[in-house]
Each structure stands twice: as C-alpha cells, then as structure tokens.
Symmetry: C2
Subunit: 298 residues, 2 copies
C-alpha cells in the first residue's frame, strides 16, 4: 500500500525560517533556495506575504521571488494569508500560493483572530482572485493532532475543514501536526476519518518532530497511500509553544527513510547535504537532522 | 499484531555511558540508576565487567552493583564479555549478565579480535559458569542492519548467530543496529529471516538513532510482535563510528510512542524526566531526546 513515488514539499525557507530567531538577508534566502533547487526537489515554499511587523523573517519575500528563475520547472510557492498577501504575491510573479486554516477554534482565534468558519469565508476572495490569475492554491490545516490551547483535536474537525478547503478549490490540503504531539495511533485515527471525505491524492502530511515522532507518523501516513510530504532542510524552525524544542521534520531524515523504503523522490542526498551545511553554518549550529549530522560528520 | 505490553530494557548506564566522553563517579552512576529504578523500569543494564584500560567509563562496576538494593525486584544486569568478567560479576552479586556477539566477521575481528564462531566458542565456559550460579544470560548481536567495515549485513548472518546464542542458553537475543543505519524495509527483511528460527518472545530490538530511524524501525518491529525494547535515558551514548552523531534511541522517545499506541510499559514519564534532567545536567548538555527536550522546556 506504500506509494512508489513521494513528492517532497520543502518548507524550510518559509515555515522553517519564520520560526528561527535569526533573520536572513534576501541574498542568503535566495542562496538557500538556489541550493535546494539543485537537489531534485521540485516544490519549494519560498516565502510568505505577511506583514513584516508580525513576521520579520519573511520580509522582502517579493525580492526573493523576483530573483528565482521561473524557467527551471520548480514550483515555488508562497503563503498568502489574505487577499492583500495574494495581491503582493501576484505582483512578485508567484504562481502557487497556500492558505492557512486551523482545526482548532482556539488556535484560529489566537493566531488569526477569527473563527474557523470566518477564516474560510475570508478565503473566498482569495480563491476568486487566484482562479482569475491561474494560480494554484494549497491549503494548510494546523493543529490536526493537537492544539497548544485545546489539547486533543477530534479527527472530524480536521476532516470538515479539509473537505471545505478542497471544495473551495485547494488542489491539496496539508495536514499539519503543528506542535508535533502526534503518534502512530493518532495518525491512524486522523486519516481513517479524513480519507472518508477527501481523496488520498489530495492529502499531504506536514508533521513536526517536536516529540521525535514525525518519521513514524509519516510511515503510518505512507501506509495509507499518502504521497506528498512537507519537510524542512536541516529541520529548520523551532516550536513557538515549547522553547528549545524542535519543529519541522528534517528533509534529510525523510529522504533517508524513503530511500531505504525504495520510494523514489528524485532528490539527491549529497546535494541536499550542501544546502544543510550552508544553512547550518549561517545559523551557527548543527542541522536539526540526525541524518545530516551523521553524514556531515563523516 | 502489536503487543499489549512492552518490556523496556534501560541500557543508558552501560551502553550509553560507555560511549560518553565524560566518566561518571561511582556515586553519580549509582544516583542515576536509583533515579531510573523509581520510574517503573524493571530491567536496567547497570554496568560492564571489562578491563578499565579499554573502557574507563565502566570502571568500578563492582562498586555500583554492590550498592544496588537486591530487594527491589528490578533486574540489574551487567555486560560480561568473557569468563573473567563473569567471575567478577558473580563476586559483585550480579544475577543477570549479557554476552556480546556480532553478525559481521570484520566487526568481530576488530572489536573482540576473533571470528564469530570463535567468540561463540569462548562463551561456552561463560554459559557453564552462569548456569551453575543460576545467572540468566542475555545475548547481544551487533551490526544487524549494517557494519561500519562491511556495509550491508545479510539477514541470515544475524539469524545464524541469534539462533546459536539461544541454543547455547540465552533467554533473549537483542538485535543491535549498532550504527543506526536501518530503515523500516531493512527491519522487515531482518525480522522475516530471524523469526523463522527464533521465537519472537526471545527477540529484543536494540536500535540506535544515528540516522533518526530508530522509532520507525521499532514501530516496524512492534508490528512483528516484538515486545522487548532496549533504549537509553536521554539518548546517552554517541556513535564511535560517526563523531558527533547520536547513539542509542532515547527511552523517553520510545515511551512517548508506546504510550501513544496504548501499549503499556509500567514506566512513568514524569519520573523518567527526573533521571533525564539529572544526567543531562551532569554531562552539561541537553538530553538527546526530543521528548525530554520538549517536556523539560515547558
């Protein structure tokens, strides 16, 4: 039941860097994305169009996108939380965007100041403008296996918002274990529910490794036929809800597991390690990736 | 097919500490083992009877064992690589020992200076003396999914030495992914072979997390019904074959996964975290456990 191929969505330059203390310069961000573009990855989330007042790490995403080569067949996407963000993304030449919904009411209120259904309603204008401009829209659902405010989240809450995002026009929904609390059993309960309403080809797994469970949860998701996985080079990004804890699962660790399972991704490990080494040196620390740490130590 | 209960074998005080640069004092080792003894763990590998010239970290294991309370129903075991080690262990009141075999000829030669079959032959005297003294013997098989010298190891090499160890009298063989290179598929190929010859109730999984794959490999092994897992508090122990890389899978991370799967262990997480915090402070670094890092950060 495992897929033969998996599409890795590299989210390090966005979800990763936005949770790092140190803000990179535009040139450094471009260099990182260009190194990633040589690895065989063909989906890279390269920035976010949000107020730099709230997310200074993502300032100047327009300059980043303008510098990327649109001819190289890589899908560079941007997070656009609202219409204003989408307009700015279009101006910068972005061809794919992502919107951000939550499966937890408290998280939605604290994070974007409105209810889940209000947030979906606001996306209508985003989808309309995206359609008009032939821009693909991906949907994130956060807190799918737990919320920092509410604790456990019932799977059907995830299913409902996932289905609505797909119905509104998302080509894929990415299920985010935002605080990394999921386990294999929670992953099963989640997917048993979500896949009743959303076709597996439209579901991606976006798991954080805060409790070290990301790979085993991804393995569980692969068993359901999920073939789209989000990860971040060098495990970039911490967890804002547990200081000192880790965030996104590392792309290197995901690739090592997939390689070992005979699942093809098109991504080359040695080239990926160059991007790891680059960003680790910039941030002045070891990659938060056991694979990168072991291989770079050799 | 998952077991309802798993027995965790805490190997931090031996396999962990012997690979740490810093050598703990006898009192510090005793304090660590006593903290671990309060957690609900009932199998703890507490030391090793080897020459302090080769493994200075394990010097004075006799003093450690003499200080442990034999009345508290916890099985404290010791690694005894040869007859001399076993004699010293008996003098210290040890009731359970472990012997160490390899599935790789090159590793056996470089590590214990003899072939695999010679090493098994040498154990005959160890088993004889152990039997005479009513001492249980556990067997380790190292390099079960890869060798630092030979690379891949064929599963039937593991099966053969595992079967011989059981035939010689080991109540359990612990399959060690010494360099942590295993993946779920390699784990399946290994267990498909080993379990043809050795009953699953006599097989333990001892996986290192050098490449971040230990939990997903353990999850795979649990699916085969394996119900004995080795792990080390705070992920103690590095990997002598890849400097800066990590070693044993952390007990906290294993426990978190098992708890999430509804598999009982009898081990209490908050009490376990006290042992984590103690050893991390002694070694002057964070635990090599994402669970401990996340929970202690709260």
């Amino acid at each position: 039941m495992f897929p033969k191929e998996v599409s890795i969505v590299e989210v390090g330059p966005r979800d990763g860097l936005q949770n790092e203390k140190r803000t990179l310069s535009v040139d450094q961000k471009i260099e990182l994305i260009q190194l990633l573009s040589k690895t065989g990855l063909n989906r890279i989330e390269a920035g976010s169009f949000v107020s730099p007042k709230w997310v200074p790490q993502m300032a100047n995403s327009d300059a980043v996108f303008k510098a990327l080569n649109p001819e190289n067949k890589i899908h560079y996407s941007a997070l656009t939380p609202n219409l204003r963000g989408l307009e700015a993304a279009i101006d910068a030449g972005v061809k794919e965007v992502a919107v951000f919904g939550a499966a937890s009411e408290s998280f939605s209120q604290k994070n974007i100041n409105c209810s889940i259904s209000e947030s979906l309603k606001r996306f209508e204008a985003v989808f309309a403008l995206a359609n008009k401009n032939n821009i693909k829209v991906r949907g994130y659902v956060s807190c799918v296996m737990g919320c920092p405010y509410e604790g456990e989240i019932p799977p059907d809450a995830v299913t409902q918002v996932s289905k609505e995002l797909v119905d509104m026009g998302c080509y894929e929904v990415s299920l985010g274990d935002t605080i990394g609390v999921g386990t294999p059993m929670a992953t099963k309960l989640l997917l048993d529910d979500v896949l009743k309403e959303v076709n597996v080809s439209k579901v991606a797994a976006h798991f954080h490794d805060t409790y070290g469970q990301a790979l085993v949860n991804l393995y569980t998701a692969l068993g359901y036929g999920i073939s789209s996985i989000d990860s971040a080079i060098a495990g970039l990004g911490g967890c804002p809800y547990a200081k000192g804890a880790s965030g996104n699962v590392a792309t290197e660790d995901v690739l090592y597991m997939l390689n070992g399972m005979g699942i093809s991704t098109g991504v080359d490990m040695p080239t990926l390690l160059k991007a790891s080494a680059y960003i680790a040196e910039l941030l002045g620390r070891s990659p938060v990736s056991k694979v990168a740490s072991a291989l770079l130590a050799k």
